[in-house]
Symmetry: C2
Subunit: 246 residues, 2 copies
Amino acid sequence: MLKAQFDHTNCSDCPIRHRAVCAHCDADELEELEDIKYYRTFEAGQTIIWSGDQMNFVGSVVSGIASLTQTMEDGRTQMVGLLLPSDFVGRPGREAAPYDVQATTDLVMCCFRKKPFEDLMNTTPHIAHRLLQMTLDELDAAREWMLVLGRKTAREKIASLLSIIARRDASITPKDKPAPIVFDLPLTREAMADYLGLTLETVSRQISALKKDGIIQLEGKRHVTIPDMRRLMEEAGDDSDGGFLV
Amino acid sequence: MLKAQFDHTNCSDCPIRHRAVCAHCDADELEELEDIKYYRTFEAGQTIIWSGDQMNFVGSVVSGIASLTQTMEDGRTQMVGLLLPSDFVGRPGREAAPYDVQATTDLVMCCFRKKPFEDLMNTTPHIAHRLLQMTLDELDAAREWMLVLGRKTAREKIASLLSIIARRDASITPKDKPAPIVFDLPLTREAMADYLGLTLETVSRQISALKKDGIIQLEGKRHVTIPDMRRLMEEAGDDSDGGFLV
DNA sequence: CGAGCACTTGATCGCTTTCAATAGCTGTGG
DNA sequence: CCACAGCTATTGAAAGCGATCAAGTGCTCG
């Protein structure tokens, strides 16, 4: 059981300790957080928060991936955010959720009831400051994505998404080295389509095309190898040096 | 001269006093801001900040409209934000600007050198708190726009943009009343295209189509009348009640 | 073995882009 | 005063890309 594994975790042992909203907290502040935190787990596919719902908690993704999606009345949906471990869920100071939050994979979250967290934010500048930083980063990411959605071709969109997922793993391996990157796609073709503003058929076709052209290699449907990251970035239409922080 | 008109304005007389980053400041805090602020003006078309430039100031739009744009190497450009009076420009805690900032119309900004502003942020929670609020609002707006870019048709995109511009004026007139809304488009067709991820020809065609269908009326190229806001919102694909805050 | 699901592939359609010509407006200079 | 350049915007015709409709594959699980 994933949950049990986290039920009694100390903040100091937490895998996202240094990146999450609590990153800058000192020992005292961490203790206060520890008092009000609790873990929740979600299964892949489960909806964590419905758009319009009252949000009575906020929290951090500890493991797994969650997605934020908006849906139009006729069913068209657009993913507007991808939440990875350490990302923050919820919005202090707002009642209703503006979009659906779904667990894309099995998920563990570290939650805080909203009211106590808001109180804590007002007394511990480190939390408020870190949250501002993280929100600004998310804003940059959202705007980066607007360029993808508005101006890139289907092939470039796929390459961009693969780059983003790969970059996360690339932070482990030395930079700029053309060492192959290997990972498992955490998203179905449909989820990728919803993220990219495409249909799942187009996603499938473009992945096949990138494979045929040797930009990526596929084992099964989800296991991806990128022999040369720079070629992928070229396909994404990004400038090769790509000065990213995320 | 626009600038002269603002050169010696007291914060307490400022038209954006109640909405900008200084909105929650008390008299003392306002005085500190007053000490370090200065006004700058820009002409329509002028670039305020180039992507990649070092940013040595932050500030608020006092009057006029600015736009944030990203450009790919081959020239494709996407507008990623529209800054209206009271909106904040710049990013405390980051060196380089992530995108171009351009004056879409003649513009007046209330600026602060970055370093003193950052110091002030650390000592006056009201400013940091307000900036967090504003950033979260911008994030919501960016995500709202991702749905437009990713999933809406050209016609819906135009209607969405007109709705946003109109809504700003609508905040003056009583809500839900089908009173006509009248405004001047602050954007060229090309700027609209860059915002919507379309070509300027498509923008022009869709505006003509909305006009032919009686959704909007046009006098000249820029002066727009919306006889029934609800019809426009339907064309935009938004649910009619549209729970917006911005 | 068959149902269900995720994915792939093919054929066709249609919306948006692209290329191109034209209109309307403003400002400039002979 | 008119001719003309330069800019914004409109409109038309054709091309192309991604969507749509439709099978079909491969895998897992009962």
